[in-house]
């Protein structure tokens, strides 16, 4: 079922059924996006559920001037960013701890290269990390990232370029790779 059909069903009174379909359509994409941001499965699960609860409470006000897809990504990204900033306020640099624990995480079975990549990405400032993840892993067009993060495309391109250069430099440091 398309987003348009889901929204139609929702507005015609089938709210629960429509929302269930929405969750079904987006659960995996949003989960993986959040998971790359927060790294830990339980934290990702919390953020994902909060995302859907917020979507449910504000779907009435969704005017349709953005795509449902970018609107949901915006809620999910904000939820993950809020989680990360709360973690930093509480214990300081906890997401780095989560990154350093990746190798022993039972829900991570990537190789050394993948673990290193996620460890260095975790060092990026949260919003730059969101830009990098949406562009690098999801290959989302800048136009859509701009809608998700409510930023200009120009600023996003510069942010992504800086993030990419940082990740490259940190990877080089960590892996001692020769150019």
């Amino acid at each position: 079922m398309t987003d348009r059909e889901i929204l139609k069903l929702y507005r015609e009174g089938g709210r629960q059924e429509a929302f269930r379909l929405l969750v079904q359509n987006y659960k995996e994409r949003l989960y993986w996006h959040i998971r790359r941001m927060v790294l830990d499965h339980d934290d990702a699960d919390d953020c994902l559920q909060n995302t859907f609860v917020k979507a449910w409470t504000s779907l009435d006000r969704f005017r349709g001037d953005a795509q449902l897809y970018t609107w949901l990504y915006r809620i999910a990204t904000n939820e993950a960013l809020t989680f990360l900033s709360r973690q930093q306020t509480r214990g300081g640099r906890l997401e780095l701890d989560a990154a350093s624990r990746l190798s022993s995480d039972p829900w991570f079975d990537g190789d050394q290269l993948q673990a290193t990549l996620h460890r260095v990405i975790a060092k990026l400032p949260p919003k730059q990390k969101a830009v990098f993840l949406l562009r690098y892993f999801e290959e989302m067009p800048y136009e859509q990232i701009a809608q998700v993060l409510e930023t200009s495309e120009g600023a996003l391109k510069a942010s992504y370029h800086h993030a990419y250069e940082k990740v490259k430099a940190w990877m080089k440091e960590e892996m001692d790779v020769k150019y």
Binding site: Q16, F19, H41, Q49, F52, W107, D109, Q114, V177
Partner: protein, 149 residues
């Protein structure tokens, strides 16, 4: 590892998802989300609903009471200060205190305060007081200790 970093990054090394989820996690997700939404939308219990309604009214009343109390206090203080501005008709507070407290009155106060307590409390009052304040066991202990001495 001698492969250029650019090559490594351009392969999007994460194309194969390195993260895993518990088995069946996604299958049960809709149900869990809908259950949580239902729980958050469940009507509050009678008591908590009444408290939710009353709480802001009580907070408002308490704020008014506090403001009134503070205002009354400030007004009383202002009146006292106005009255005590040192004119002959209304002697200042400092003058009044100086007149009231003289060396003789201080000595009297000390002597009055220093009178032995025993003279002011008769035996019957003391017994009644102990009987009302202490248990029989406590009284027996005190009696035993006094006899031991």
């Amino acid at each position: 590892m001698n492969e250029p970093i650019d090559d490594l990054l351009s392969r999007r090394s994460d194309a194969e998802q390195p993260f895993r989820v518990p088995e069946g996690y996604f299958d049960a997700l809709e149900d869990r989300v809908m259950a949580r939404i239902a729980m958050e939308e469940a009507p509050e219990t009678g008591r908590s609903r009444v408290w939710t309604v009353i709480k802001p009214a009580l907070a408002l009343a308490a704020t008014f009471a506090l403001i009134f109390g503070m205002g009354y206090g400030v007004l009383s203080l202002t009146q006292t200060l106005k009255r005590g501005n040192g004119t002959p008709e209304a002697p200042g507070y400092a003058t009044t205190v100086e007149e009231w407290i003289t060396p003789a009155s201080l000595i009297n106060y000390y002597e009055m305060d220093a009178q032995p307590v025993e003279e002011e409390i008769d035996e019957e009052t003391l017994v009644n007081y102990l009987a009302s304040e202490l248990s029989f066991t406590q009284l027996a202990e005190i009696y035993a200790q006094a006899n031991l001495k």
